[in-house]
Amino acid sequence: MQADLKRISPAGMLLVTAILALVSMLAFMTLGAKGSWAFILSFRGTKLAGMILVAYAIAVSTILFQTISGNRILTPSIIGFDAMYALLQTVMVFFLGAAGATAADPRLQFLIETAAMVGFSVLLFRALFSGATRSLHLLMLVGIILGGLFRSLSSFLQRILDPNEFIVLQDRLFASFNTVNVDLLGISAVAVAGVTFVLWRLFPTFDVLSLGRESAIGLGVDHHRTVTILLVLIAVLVSVSTALVGPVTFFGLLVASLAWQITPTASHRFVLPIAVCLAIVTLVGGQVILERLFAFNTALSIVIEFVGGLVFIFLLVRGSAR
């Protein structure tokens, strides 16, 4: 497969994925449209905007996380980002009650959650990197263990929760691309734009970071500072995607591995936009197929997690075989 793909230039590959992304967006907006166009466009438009934001956030955060960790099967959820989101939601429902949590301004909730997640990642990073051992792997391991702690705490709280309130909570914790949280679209877009601006300025360092810490320092990149900033940006992106649709574990992995596979170069100039296009194709295209072919009979997140899980196992098996 790789041999065939080598013949396509990176720019050509980007063009192909971009066209596919456009086609799926167009299909989503127009297929099966009956009745007032004004209504359809605004109704579907907000959903589409939400999905594009999520696709962008997940693709970019996963690729950059893999670049700074020097590992192609890690995703931000491995250092407990998703688990932390679930815990925050659980704590909110637990202490405010379902009514209170639903009544609170979602934008305020979003800001608090994002701040907590950024604070968590910076704290974890600072604590582990200021000492004698400066190991990203230690950071991952501690993250995995903290993720376990968060999950246990959430499930403990969920167990002693009133069953009615638990249903409300469960609804919030299942990723659903069908019910994009519209209240948060504006603030998410602003957050993503801010992140993108900083990423743009850091862009030239990404390829150098993928050479590893020592080579990056040797070439004059302030590794500690750059990685800290990137982790903060990744935390913001993960917050955006989880706040909009809920936690998705394997989607990022699926899209990122595909992007690394099909891009004929390791340069982030191509890998990042191709990953974003693939994410849009998967999300928007998947949603179209789901709505038109299966008539909403299943949830997209279930399909994506299923396929993503298979890809993850495939990568593990192939990795051990080599």
Binding site: R72, V208, L211, S215, I217, G218, L219, G220, V221
Partner: protein
């Protein structure tokens, strides 16, 4: 000139580099020798600011390596390390082009491209420039990393055991290449070497370390001495003069 002042680095109570002070002269080829665990690689990592030191100071042309901005230092000093593990799938040319990052920040100019091509030609990898790194032999990979350092084109070039994985022919070619860098281009080359005879044949200056400390330093004719080698390596050996070069026989 690289000034190393009272540098200490310890893990727990174990000092791997212990109050080392020395001056590595500008220009010429300096070899660092010593047994395993003497702190050679650690010292090189500290000098090239890959590793923070616990105490002391390192000045490169008067610039303090722990204070100077990374990109300024990257145009003065480059390092090739022992283990170069890279996850990204890079071709030889991609890798070598990274050497220009301190100058061009990823946007190669015509001048940069010329540097890249010259460096690849220098290490004799023209035929392999579009091969991926994982498709090369150990020695070819080693030469690709050397080419990247050449491409960075700094006044100071540090090499941590550059002869690892190389056969006789390529080891000699590599040392001649480093020698040329010093002689023709006026670079300051610092090399960690294990083979004492390579150090003897190619160095202007030899620094010997043992147990984290500076043991001896001097010109090859003073350093390649049975009593000194015994003190450094704990090995009995005989030294033969062959032409201008002193060769060590440590096999008996």
């Amino acid at each position: 000139m690289i000034e190393i002042r009272d540098v200490t680095k310890s893990y727990g109570s174990n000092a791997v580099v212990d109050r080392v002070s020395m001056t590595l002269p500008a220009r010429g080829l300096t070899s660092i020798i010593g047994p395993n665990g003497a702190g050679k690689s650690t010292l090189l990592s500290i000098v090239s600011r890959l590793m923070p030191m616990d105490k002391g100071q390192v000045l490169v042309d008067g610039l303090d390596v722990s204070r100077t901005a990374g990109d300024i230092l990257a145009r003065r000093l480059s390092i090739m390390r022992q283990d170069n593990h890279i996850t990204a799938r890079l071709s030889v040319r991609d890798l070598v082009a990274f050497g220009r990052y301190p100058y061009s920040k990823g946007r190669l100019t015509a001048d940069d491209v010329e540097h890249v091509e010259r460096s690849i030609a220098y290490v004799g990898l023209n035929a392999f420039e579009h091969r991926f790194l994982d498709e090369l032999s150990g020695g070819q990979r080693q030469r690709a990393f050397i080419a990247m350092v050449l491409c960075q084109d700094t006044d100071y070039m540090l090499f941590d055991e550059p002869l690892n994985n190389l056969d006789m022919k390529h080891a000699v070619e590599t040392m001649k290449l480093l020698r040329r860098l010093a002689d023709d281009f006026g670079k300051t080359v610092v090399v960690v070497l294990h083979d004492i005879n390579f150090a003897s044949a190619y160095s202007d200056h030899i620094v010997a370390m043992r147990d984290g400390r500076l043991a001896f330093e001097g010109v090859p004719s003073d350093m390649i001495e049975p009593s000194r080698l015994q003190a450094i390596f704990d090995v009995d050996c005989r030294v033969h003069a062959v032409g201008d070069t002193r060769l060590v026989n440590y096999f008996e």
